[in-house]
Structure formats: structure tokens, C-alpha cells
Chain length 189, copies 2
Amino acid sequence: MKDLTPIVNLFFNNQFVSEKTKELFIPLLHEFKARKGATFLQEGAICNHIYIVESGLVRQYFYKDNIDVTEYFAWEGQGFVCIESFIERTPSNLIVEALEDSVIYGIEKNELNALAEKHHEIELMHRGLMEQGLVMSQKRMYSMLFETAKERYNNFLKASPFLINRVPSMYIASYLGITPETLSRVKGH
Amino acid sequence: MKDLTPIVNLFFNNQFVSEKTKELFIPLLHEFKARKGATFLQEGAICNHIYIVESGLVRQYFYKDNIDVTEYFAWEGQGFVCIESFIERTPSNLIVEALEDSVIYGIEKNELNALAEKHHEIELMHRGLMEQGLVMSQKRMYSMLFETAKERYNNFLKASPFLINRVPSMYIASYLGITPETLSRVKGH
DNA sequence: CGGAAAGATTGACATATATCAAGAACTCGA
DNA sequence: TCGAGTTCTTGATATATGTCAATCTTTCCG
């Protein structure tokens, strides 16, 4: 059986996890696979899992007035979740597609909650994930507000250089909140 | 002694709270007062509390290249926290000032954590606050990305009409991510 | 109460980015 | 390998919003 320790550590943000907690947590992990191009999560479904990509690359996106807007990329070691749907148990407007063949581990909300009720370390992890998301979300908002298209692209390049060759530019553009035309110009000069 | 039930209910987002939990939680509440114009939280301090405004009105802001940017308003019944500082225990770049004489209740992070460790309902409340913040943050980001200055102003007006006469326009402008000039034009037409 | 300081409005102009359109360069399946 | 369909680039133009400056209005302290 595969050693899932690395996946556990990712969920726990690489903080110390007791053997006991790890033992309890591992059975919650469900493995999913998605082939390149496949839709992993449909629009309108309720997102009941928190996922981490073990290998591959996925993209979260939604339609705003019929145009495709990228919300997030997740690659090896990155987590993702349709956050509003997960928190409020409402149908998601987000779609998740695999940009490459991917192996993904997920934990189910109810199972997580049940275990967390008994084991505080797990409840803390759950809160930790929400906190991480909150800080990231704030930073992204201020990047949209204060940075020019060029600055956002440069920062993206610096933070995730390896994505440039794995993701079509048009998706990067919409992730950065700009048009493909602007991205193209920004790259050129 | 004042009945703090309404404050407790605000922290618990108006969900059911058992008598036991309420009893445990009330001693965590600390009362603070701030006079109009006073700085309630300084820049550079670590924010160790989550606050709720009982009466009055406060503004969170920071300096971006020496210009004053409003992050948030909190009025009667609203919570606030310098979120990044609180989560990461780092010095805050946010300043909190009272725009009116205010009475504020706060809970201290360490005290909250200690109690939450023993009482799951309280831990859940803590996570709930983070989740609320996360959903709000996401919504605000998409408002900045997709809405025009006019739309943002109209939505603000609809959501918080009472703030218009309590807050100088320049603060509303920076909260909406626009200049005072643009806000003035947007209001006029 | 009066005057200085702060805030709000208005105008002229600058600028970043969007939009629309055309053509070039990839990509991928038959 | 060819060719159709994407995707990317480049150009011309439009537009929302920012910047700077002047003036008008409000606030508030001495």
C-alpha cells in the first residue's frame, strides 16, 4: 500500500502530526484520477471535498457572462476546493478540469467533521486550511487592486515559472484578470 | 451586570448556542471603548483579538505608498480583526480608528484557543468566523474585478445605506478601490 | 463666531487596459 | 503529414478611471 504521509503532511501544512492523528486521518483520504481534458467537478454540483493534487495539474474556472474565467490552478502538492460551495453547501459555479492526467486525494466534509469532533488536532487542521485560504484571498484581492497587468504577470512568473509552459496563456490571462491580448503585449515588452 | 447574550450570538453568527457554552464564553469577552477620532489599534502591533462593535463605528485602513486605503468598516453588530496579523501572529499593517464613540467587545486569541481545545462548539465558532471571512473576501475580490466604479458604489449604497452619512466620502472611495474624484462623479450621474 | 483646514466637486487631460479585427503560429486528430 | 480549429500576436481605436489643478463647501477649533 502506498505511503500517504506526504499527502497527510500537505493537508497539515507540514506541521507536526502525531502518529495517532495520522493513523486516524489516512482512512479519510480518497484517491481520484482525472485524464487530461476531463471535467473533474461539474458546475452546479455541491463540493463536499477538500482536494490535494498528488500529480498533474487542474484548473478551476467559471463562466462570467459566458466567458471562461480562471479562478485557480493547482499542481503537485497544491490543494483546491470550491470554497463557497464547500462552506455553504450550495451548488458550485466553479468547474474543475484536468489540464494534465492527474491523481488527486480528497477528504469528505462530513467524514472530516465527524473525526474532527473527536480529535482536536484534526479540527485545528481544518481551521488552518480555511485560514490559509483567507490570507491568500486577501493577497490576491490587493494584487488585483494595486498591481498593473505587467506586475501581476511578473509576480506570477516568479511564483510559478513552471506553469508558463504547462498552461495556455489565455487561462493565465483570465487568472490574472486581464485579456489575452493584454497578456501578450505584457509578455512581449 | 449587562446581558452579553447579543454579543455572544454575534460571535456565533446567530446559530444556536448551548447555555453551557455561553456560560464558558462570556468570561472571554473584554470590553473596550474608543472615543471618536481615537486610534483603537496601532500599525505594527500584533492583533490578538477578534472584535465585535456593540455601538459606534470603526474603520480599518493602511498606508499604501503613503496614501490612506480603507480596508473595512465595522458598525453596530459587525465584527472585525486584522486578519493576517491575527492568523500569522505578525505585526499588522492595519490601523483601526473610531469614526464615532464606540463600545467594542473582543476575545483574546490565546484564551479562545485554550477554551476551544476543551469545547468543540467554541472551536467550531472560531472556524465559522474564518469561513465567513473567506467567503466575504472572495466576493469582494470579484466585485473589484468585474464591477465598474458605479456598480460598486450602487451595491455599497444598497448594502449599507446608513454609512453614507456617517463616513466621509473619501473613505468610501478608497474602500471601493477608486479615487474620491471618481466617486464624486459616479454619485452625481 | 470666524477663519483655517479638510473634504467634495468639477474640468482638462493622461493612461492603462478593453474591444474589435486580421493574420500568424501552433496543435492535434484523421 | 495535412488541414481545420485553436491560440497567440499585433494593430487601431474606444473607454473607464486616474491625475492634477482650481474652486466650492463643510467642519470644527480657538
